[in-house]
C-alpha cells in the first residue's frame, strides 16, 4: 500500500490539473491559466532535461536552443509559406495538388505601408478576390519537433567524446550561436522585433459543445497539458525499457557500460534526439500560444530556470522535475505580489528571485536529489530495507553463519 502512495498522489494531482480550468472561475482566470500553461511548458523542458542530464548524465546547457529550434521552425513555416489557388507571379511558388505553394520573400523589420512582401502585393492587386490558406499549425508543430530531433541528433553526434564541463560548455556555445544567428538574421527572423505566429487554434475550437475563440486559454491549457502527459508517458516507457537502463549505466560509467556490451554511442545520440525533440515540441506549442517568439527565449537565465526547476524537483526523476517546474512556476508568479511592512514596501518582483535562489542553494546543499524525488523514492522503495534484512536472516539461518 505504501508503495502505491506516489501513484495515488500523482493521479489526484492529475485529476486536479484536468479539472482546474473547468472549476476555477475567479476574475483572474486568464492570468492563472497563463501561469499554468507556462508551468506545463517548463515542466516539459524540465522533464526532458532531467532524462538527458539526470538519467543519462549528459549535462547539457543547450536545451533552450532546441526549444527555440522548434519554435522558430514552426514560426518560419507559418510565416513564410501559404497555399493559393492561383500563382502570384511575384513570389517563389510551385504547383501543389492543383493549388500553388507560395514562399513569401523575407522583408525583415519594416513598415508594411512602405515595403510589402510579395504576397501582400499580390493580394492588394487581387483586391481580396483570392483566398489565402495558411499552413496548418499542427504541421508546423510536427516540423518543429522533427527539426529539434534532427538538431539533437547532430549535436549528440558532435559531443560523443565530451563529458561533464566540456559537454556543458559545448552545448552552451551551441545555444549562444543559435541566439546570435537568430538575432543577426533580421531579414528572415525579424531579430529582436520578434516573429509573429498564428494562434494554436486560428479558427477557434469547439469542446464539449462550447466554442472557444483563438485567444481563449482553455484549449492551449489542455494542449500543453496533453503534450506534457505524452512526453511523460514516453519518458516513463523509455525509463522502464532497456533504453532507461542503458542510459543510466551510461551516466554511471560509460566505459564499464561499453565493456558490458552497451552501444554507448547509439544511446547517447538517441537520448539527445528524443529529449531535444521534446524540448522543440514544447517550444513550438508555446510559440503558437504566446504568438510571438524572440531570441530572448534563449537567454542563459531561461536555461538556468529550467535547470533549477529540475534540480529542485529532482534531477534523477523526470516526474519530480515536471512537478517541481509546475509548482515553482506557480509559486514564483504568486510571489510577485508586493506588500508593505511598517510603511516599507517590499518589492516582491525582486525578492521572489532571492527566495528562489536561496531555495536552490538549500536544495543543492542538503537535498542533492531535489525535494520531490526523495519523497517518491521513500514510498516507492519503502520495502527494500525490510526485504534485505529479512532475506539476510533467512540466509544466516540456512548457512548457520
Amino acid at each position: 500500500m505504501k508503495k502505491q502512495i506516489p501513484n495515488l498522489a500523482g493521479t489526484i494531482f492529475l485529476i486536479l490539473l484536468l479539472a482546474f480550468p473547468l472549476v476555477y472561475s475567479r476574475g483572474d482566470y486568464d492570468y492563472i491559466m497563463h501561469i499554468m500553461i507556462t508551468g506545463f511548458f517548463y515542466a516539459i523542458l524540465a522533464a526532458s532535461w532531467s532524462m538527458l542530464s539526470g538519467y543519462a548524465g549528459q549535462f547539457s546547457f543547450g536545451h533552450m536552443g532546441f526549444m527555440a529550434i522548434g519554435a522558430y521552425t514552426t514560426g518560419l513555416f507559418c510565416h513564410y509559406i501559404y497555399i493559393l489557388p492561383q500563382p502570384t507571379e511575384l513570389c517563389s511558388e510551385m504547383s501543389f495538388f492543383g493549388q500553388y505553394l507560395v514562399i513569401v520573400n523575407p522583408i525583415g523589420v519594416t513598415s508594411t505601408t512602405l515595403t510589402q512582401d510579395c504576397l501582400r502585393q499580390a493580394l492588394d492587386a487581387w483586391d481580396g478576390s483570392v483566398e489565402v490558406t495558411p499552413m496548418p499549425v499542427l504541421l508546423g508543430v510536427v516540423l518543429g519537433t522533427v527539426m529539434g530531433g534532427i538538431a539533437g541528433f547532430l549535436v549528440g553526434m558532435l559531443v560523443l567524446r565530451l563529458r561533464a564541463a566540456y559537454l556543458a560548455l559545448f552545448t552552451l556555445g551551441f545555444s549562444e550561436i543559435l541566439k546570435a544567428t537568430i538575432s543577426a538574421e533580421i531579414n528572415i527572423t525579424r531579430g529582436q522585433a520578434g516573429l509573429e505566429l498564428p494562434p494554436l487554434y486560428p479558427e477557434g475550437i469547439t469542446l464539449l459543445g462550447n466554442y472557444y475563440g483563438p485567444t481563449a486559454k482553455l484549449p492551449p491549457y489542455y494542449t500543453m497539458l496533453g503534450l506534457l502527459l505524452i512526453c511523460l508517458l514516453i519518458l516513463t516507457w523509455l525509463a522502464r525499457s532497456k533504453f532507461g537502463l542503458f542510459v543510466r549505466a551510461l551516466r554511471e560509467d560509460q566505459d564499464a557500460a561499453a565493456a558490458l556490451g552497451v552501444n554507448t554511442i547509439r544511446y547517447k545520440v538517441l537520448v539527445f534526439t528524443i529529449t531535444c525533440s521534446m524540448a522543440a515540441a514544447a517550444g513550438a506549442v508555446q510559440g503558437h500560444y504566446v504568438q510571438i517568439i524572440t531570441p530572448n527565449m534563449l537567454f542563459l537565465l531561461q536555461m538556468s530556470l529550467v535547470v533549477a526547476m529540475a534540480v529542485i524537483g529532482g534531477i534523477e526523476n523526470f516526474v519530480a522535475a515536471a512537478i517541481g517546474a509546475i509548482i515553482l512556476q506557480v509559486v514564483l508568479e504568486l510571489l510577485r505580489t508586493s506588500f508593505v511592512i511598517g510603511g516599507v514596501e517590499v518589492d516582491m518582483t525582486i525578492w521572489r528571485l532571492v527566495i528562489f535562489g536561496m531555495l536552490l542553494m538549500i536544495t543543492l546543499r542538503f537535498f542533492r536529489n531535489g525535494l520531490i524525488a526523495p519523497v517518491i523514492a521513500y514510498f516507492g522503495r519503502s520495502d527494500v530495507a525490510e526485504e534485505t534484512v529479512a532475506k539476510r536472516k533467512v540466509n544466516v539461518q540456512e548457512t548457520g553463519s
Binding site: 554511471e252 564499464a256 558490458l260 533467512v394
Partner: protein, 245 residues
C-alpha cells in the same frame, strides 16, 4: 573452441612504449595468470584487448574475428569480458539492474522472467542475493567486486579478464571469488587473471604470462615461470643492479 591470438602487439603513449611486441595465444578454456611489476603494461594490455585503447600496431583475433579495431561494446559482444582494477559498479542502480545491463545488451535471454531467474541464480551463487534491490553504492567494496563478477556471468563471454579480483577482499569473499573462477572456467570460458597476489595466482593458474616493461618475458606453467631467471630479475632486480646500488 576458444582461440584468442595476440600477435606483435605494440602500444605507444607518446614516447612511452608500453607494449613491445606482445605475442601469445589462448587455446580453449585455459586459466591463465598475467603478472608483472607495476608499470609492466598489464592494464594497458587489458585495455587493448577489450577495445578501450587501440594498439599502435599488431593484431588481436578472437576466433576468426579481428577485434583490435572494434569498439569496446563490439568486443564484449564478440565474447571478451573484463572487470576493472578499481571496481566500477553502476552505483546508483540496484544490484539486479547492474546484472540486467549485460543481459539486455547481449540479448541472449528469451524473456525478462528468464533474465531475472538467471540474475537471481548468479546473486545466490555470489551470496549477495539478499541485496538484490539495494543500490550498488550501498554494498561494501568486496560485495561490489562480486557484483562486477556477476555482471560477467550475465555477459557469458568466451574470454574473461579479471583485473585484480582479490585486491582488498575479505578472505571469506575470496573463497566466493575462487569458486566463481572455477565455475566460469568449468563452464568453458578462458580466464586471464591479473593480480599481485602471488599465492592466489600460483595456486589457481595453469599457465602464467609475465610482462615486464611491455615485454612478455615468460609464458609457461607456474612452476617453470617461478624459476625463470628473467622473471626473478624482473621482480627482485639483477645482481648487476644490486652491485651498482
Amino acid at each position: 573452441m576458444i582461440h584468442l591470438k595476440v600477435t606483435n602487439l605494440h602500444k605507444r603513449f607518446g614516447g612511452n612504449h608500453v607494449l613491445r611486441g606482445v605475442n601469445f595465444e589462448v587455446n580453449g578454456p585455459e586459466l591463465i595468470g598475467l603478472i608483472g611489476p607495476n608499470g609492466a603494461g598489464k592494464t594497458t594490455l587489458t585495455n587493448v584487448l577489450d577495445g578501450a585503447v587501440k594498439p599502435t600496431s599488431g593484431t588481436v583475433y578472437l576466433g576468426e574475428e579481428r577485434i583490435d579495431q572494434l569498439q569496446p561494446y563490439q568486443v564484449a559482444r564478440a565474447g571478451l569480458g573484463r572487470t576493472f582494477q578499481v571496481t566500477r559498479s553502476f552505483r546508483r542502480m540496484t544490484v539486479l539492474e547492474n546484472l540486467y545491463v549485460p543481459a539486455l545488451a547481449m540479448g541472449n535471454l528469451a524473456s525478462s522472467a528468464e533474465m531475472k531467474e538467471k540474475a537471481m541464480d548468479v546473486l545466490e551463487f555470489l551470496t549477495i542475493d539478499h541485496l538484490r534491490n539495494e543500490f550498488a553504492q550501498a554494498l561494501s567494496g568486496g560485495q561490489q567486486k562480486l557484483l562486477e563478477l556477476g555482471r560477467l556471468l550475465m555477459l557469458n563471454p568466451d574470454v574473461v579478464i579479471l583485473d585484480e579480483p582479490f585486491a582488498g577482499v575479505h578472505p571469506r569473499l575470496m573463497e566466493v571469488i575462487y569458486s566463481y573462477i572455477k565455475r566460469v572456467n568449468e563452464a568453458g570460458s578462458a580466464i586471464i587473471i591479473i593480480s599481485h597476489q602471488m599465492d592466489s595466482i600460483f595456486s589457481l593458474s595453469k599457465r602464467l604470462l609475465v610482462l615486464n616493461f611491455g615485454d612478455l618475458i615468460a609464458d609457461g606453467p607456474p612452476d617453470e615461470v617461478k624459476n625463470d631467471p628473467k622473471v626473478i630479475e624482473a621482480y627482485l632486480g639483477s645482481d648487476d643492479e644490486e652491485d651498482a646500488a
